[in-house]
């Protein structure tokens, strides 16, 4: 077992265990913490695969941004810090069974995948990636992703405005039509 393999095993195990933790925790805050570890594990895997930019982005965006949102969301909407919402047996059996079946099928599909020979060339670094996103192909004739980049940018803007609009505290108007409330 090489160092690489050991590293992979560690990272993979960490991610998997954390993901499982997300599932089994009945407290939403605990789940969020497990999710944090899972995200970090995945980010480690990105580094492991040589995609430094992505690993960094994962850490910054997810761990730094999204997670904060999630934790705050959880705190804002739960009554106590460790509010339990237990899952019934039926839910476990149904969801778990379904997931297990899916997992089995996916594993079967993965293992039957014809493995490509591992290329030794490292992944393109941040530079080419950034250029590609800016519309400069790595090699002439290759595809560039300026338009998706722009779309995503606009999208993000819209989303931010929407999120601000939705989440702004507002007083519900006093109901003049009580029946409409119960509808």
């Amino acid at each position: 077992m090489t160092f690489h393999d050991a590293l992979f095993l560690i990272l993979a195990t960490a991610s998997a265990v954390s993901a499982l933790g997300v599932v089994v925790s009945s407290s939403i805050i605990r789940s969020a913490i497990w999710l944090l570890f899972m995200l970090m594990g995945v980010s480690g895997l990105y580094f492991f695969l040589g995609a430094e930019f992505l690993g960094a982005a994962q850490l910054i965006v997810y761990v730094g941004g999204t997670m904060v949102l999630v934790v705050f969301g959880g705190m804002l909407t739960t009554r106590g810090p460790f509010d339990h919402v237990p899952v019934g047996l039926v839910g476990w059996v149904l969801g778990g069974g379904l997931s297990l079946a899916l997992f089995a099928l996916l594993v079967q599909a993965s293992l039957s995948f014809v493995s490509h020979p591992r290329t030794d060339t490292a992944l393109p670094g941040t530079g080419p990636l950034g250029l590609t996103l800016l519309g400069v192909p790595e090699t002439p004739g290759q595809t560039a992703y300026l338009l998706p980049f722009e779309i995503v940018s606009i999208h993000l803007l819209v989303v931010l405005i929407a999120a601000a609009y939705l989440a702004r505290a507002k007083r519900r108007p006093t109901s003049t039509h009580p029946e409409a409330d119960h509808g």
Binding site: G91, L94, G95, L98, S99, A101, L102, L105, L106, Q108, A109
Partner: protein, 736 residues
């Protein structure tokens, strides 16, 4: 014109068959126009004018006289045809060798099959096939044609003559129908007269009957067979206001249809094995006719014969379908005389005779036994009936049984001969009964009659001749034919001792015949009147009714004569018929021909046979005389409806009602409920409900599926996951 007929004399018969169509169509048209214009009777205009012109007894009478004239012409043609055929083809050979039956050479001119004797009714193409092994199977056409033999001509003449007499008689009998308003005697219900319709039905009937007689193929016979049946239906239900008339008509038609099932099967067999309906061509496929490789298997041949015979059982009111004939007396009496005594019911016998070679020995034995049972049933039940027409009806059943028996035991000529003589004297008896009923203002009950010979002498004495004839009084026509039948039966009994019952029963029933016929006559005409009121209003019928009686009486006396007259076998008609010699291998597989041996044996004792038959008949007469003349008071004591085994006609009606009619009706009601119920709420209880339920199932499934779409994210996700798992699973399984 004359050359047209001289070239093919058979065409005369076709013309005679179609002639009554002229009055039929005229009466139909006039009647339709009159009925359609009736609502405008009081409205000025062409419709009202037409109605006034057409709604007059004169118009109806003109139709009747036209029909009578046409029938007279037909009778003339029939007699002319008969005598011509006789003199040209039969008399020269009568002294010589027996004529092989169906030797078409003899009558080639009469039956041109190649050019002119037939027309194509439906023509089919011949579909070629890659490997035509059976070259003989080539269906080209279904044709109509005629086939004139000596029995055809005799039968045709008989129907024409009897028909003419009955047409004339009906002028008097149906006179009431000429009135614009007439009263139904049974229901006391006022209605319009329907004189024209009666003659319309009669005309249609004789067309169908003639067509049946001359037809050369089974299909044509079948067509006429059903057509006479439907005419009979409408004539039985002539007084359709009466409930029992409608039921009787239905019963007659359905009983006939049951018989026709057999007929259809026979036709189907003949077509699918021999590819022909031609009676002659079918006969040629029979082994006795020398067909080397018969297309038929023996079973199929027997089945063909039995199928045909089932048709005849229906039409000729044989056991077990005899039940319809007595009920058919609900029709007007001339109809009973024409259709239900002389002609239509004899058509079954005629068909058996005509298709004689198509019957295997087994089938003939069935025919003989059926005839034997029928004649016993008819004879016994006739003895207790109190309705004058019912007595005659059961007597007809019994006599038809005699004919079938004769045909079954090999007495072909005897059967046909009896058919002819019976037609005359039974028509006479029925018309006599009609005259009595007419004279008594539609009183049919024997218990209210008596002593009428003084009031209506012509009717009484012509009927007496009829009674003598049917009872087998020597030198009258019935004597000759009955002797022939008894001889044939006795011959068969001697030749086949195991079937001796076929010989004994006819002898015994001969006595019964004499008994019930004399009982009828004595109760009607002899003794003292039992119902003063009826007697006082009785009157002799007008000439238009008595003259046909007299003519028919003369026929009943003389139709069997020959020389020497005291020798029953010397009867001219019988000898003529008997000259058609059927090979006895037809009846016996044994080449020794025991029938012939028995015949020679019996010939030595024929006087003894005559004496026995005469003694039995005399005994029957004596019992009737003793019981109904000498001891008349006793009859009053039993003055009730006929009851018991005989009175209920062996309980046939009750059994059929319980075993056939009721179950069928129940089945129909049950099945109708099974198919659809008006209220099929809740659980489906019928086929329709079930199918609706399947439709409901779709609706319910939709309603159920709506529950899944409940807005619960988890549910959606679960279903999504399930779908993915399912699809991946399918992929995994399919790409394995």
């Amino acid at each position: 014109m004359l050359e047209f007929f001289a070239e093919h004399p058979g065409r005369l018969y076709v013309a005679a068959t179609l002639l009554p169509l002229v009055p039929a169509v005229l009466i139909l048209l006039i009647g339709t126009v009159r009925n359609l214009t009736r609502p405008y009777a009081d409205v000025p205009g062409i419709a009202g004018w037409l109605y006034a012109r057409l709604n007059h007894p004169r118009v109806e009478l003109a139709g009747a006289w036209l029909s009578i004239g046409v029938m007279g012409l037909v009778s003339f043609i029939a007699v002319y045809g008969f005598t011509t055929l006789l003199y040209e083809h039969y008399l020269p050979r009568l002294s010589g060798e027996p004529i092989a039956p169906w030797n078409l050479d003899d009558t080639r001119l009469w039956n041109v099959n190649a050019d002119g004797g037939q027309i194509d009714w439906i023509r089919f193409g011949s579909t070629p096939v890659p490997d035509a092994e059976l070259d003989i199977i080539k269906a080209h056409s279904i044709h109509l044609g005629y086939w004139i033999e000596i029995d055809t001509t005799v039968m045709f003449a008989m129907v024409a003559v009897v028909g003419t007499m009955i047409y004339v008689f009906s002028l008097g009998y149906m006179r009431n129908e000429l009135k614009s308003t007439t009263i139904d005697e049974t229901l006391q219900h006022a209605r319009r007269g329907r004189f024209g319709r009666f003659y319309l039905y009669l005309n249609l009937f004789v067309i169908a009957m003639f067509n049946l007689i001359i037809a050369d193929n089974l299909l044509q016979v079948f067509i006429s067979w059903e057509l006479v049946g439907v005419c009979s239906y409408f004539l039985i239900s002539y007084y359709y206001e009466r409930r029992e008339a409608g039921w009787a008509a239905n019963k007659a038609f359905i009983a006939n249809r049951i018989g026709d099932v057999g007929f259809l099967i026979a036709i189907a067999i003949s077509w699918s094995t021999c590819n022909t309906f031609m009676i002659g061509a079918l006969g040629a496929e029979m082994p006795w006719h020398g067909a080397l490789e018969p297309l038929f298997s023996p079973t199929m041949r027997t089945l063909l014969g039995l199928g045909l015979f089932l048709g005849c059982v229906g039409k000729s009111a044989q056991f077990p379908l005899q039940v319809w004939l007595p009920d058919a007396m609900a029709g007007p009496t001339p109809v009973s005389a024409l259709i239900h005594a002389a002609t239509m019911v004899a058509a079954g016998v005629y068909l058996v005779a005509r298709c004689y070679p198509l019957f295997t020995p087994d089938a003939l034995l069935v025919i003989a036994y059926t005839g034997c049972i029928t004649l016993l049933i008819g004879g016994t039940v006739a003895c207790v009936q109190t309705d004058i027409k019912k007595v005659l009806a059961y007597s007809t059943v019994s006599q038809l049984g005699y004919m079938m028996l004769a045909l079954g035991v090999g007495g072909w000529a005897a059967g046909v001969f009896h058919l002819l003589t019976h037609a005359f004297f039974k028509a006479l008896l029925f018309l006599g009964a009609g005259s009595v009923i007419h004279g008594l203002h539609h009183e049919q009950d024997l218990r209210k009659m008596g002593g009428l010979r003084r009031k209506m002498p012509v009717t009484a004495w012509t009927m007496f001749i009829g009674v003598l004839a049917i009872s087998g009084f020597p030198l009258l026509s019935g004597w000759y034919s009955k002797e022939a039948i008894l001889t044939a039966a006795a011959t068969f009994g001697v030749a086949a001792p195991s079937h001796v019952v076929l010989a004994v029963v006819p002898f015994l029933v001969a006595g019964l015949t004499a008994f019930y016929m004399f009982r009828l006559w004595f109760l009607t005409f002899a003794g003292e009147p039992r119902d003063r009121h009826v007697y006082d209003h009785a009157h002799e019928s007008p000439l238009v009714m008595t003259i046909p009686l007299i003519i028919l009486a003369m026929f009943s006396i003389a139709v069997g004569w020959g020389w020497p007259a005291w020798e029953p076998e010397a009867s001219f008609l019988y000898e003529l018929l008997n000259h058609q010699h059927w090979p006895s291998s037809h009846f016996w597989d044994d080449p020794q021909d025991p029938l012939l041996n028995a015949a020679t044996l019996l010939h030595e004792y024929h006087l003894l046979l005559e004496l026995i038959a005469g003694a039995i008949g005399l005994f029957g007469f004596a019992v009737a005389y003793w019981r109904y003349v000498l001891r008349t008071p006793r009859f009053h004591a039993t003055n009730t409806e006929p009851r018991g085994f005989l009175g209920q006609a062996w309980y046939f009606d009750a059994v059929y009602d319980a075993c056939l009619r009721k179950p069928t009706q129940n089945l129909a009601v049950f099945t109708a409920a099974f198919d659809k119920q008006s209220s099929d709420h809740g659980a489906p209880r019928s086929l329709d409900g079930l199918l609706n339920g399947i439709g409901q199932l779709a609706a319910n499934t939709g309603r159920g599926l709506r529950g899944i779409q409940n807005g619960q994210v988890r549910g959606y996700v679960t279903i999504l996951g399930l779908t993915v798992v399912g699809l991946l699973g399918m992929l995994a399984v399919l790409t394995r």
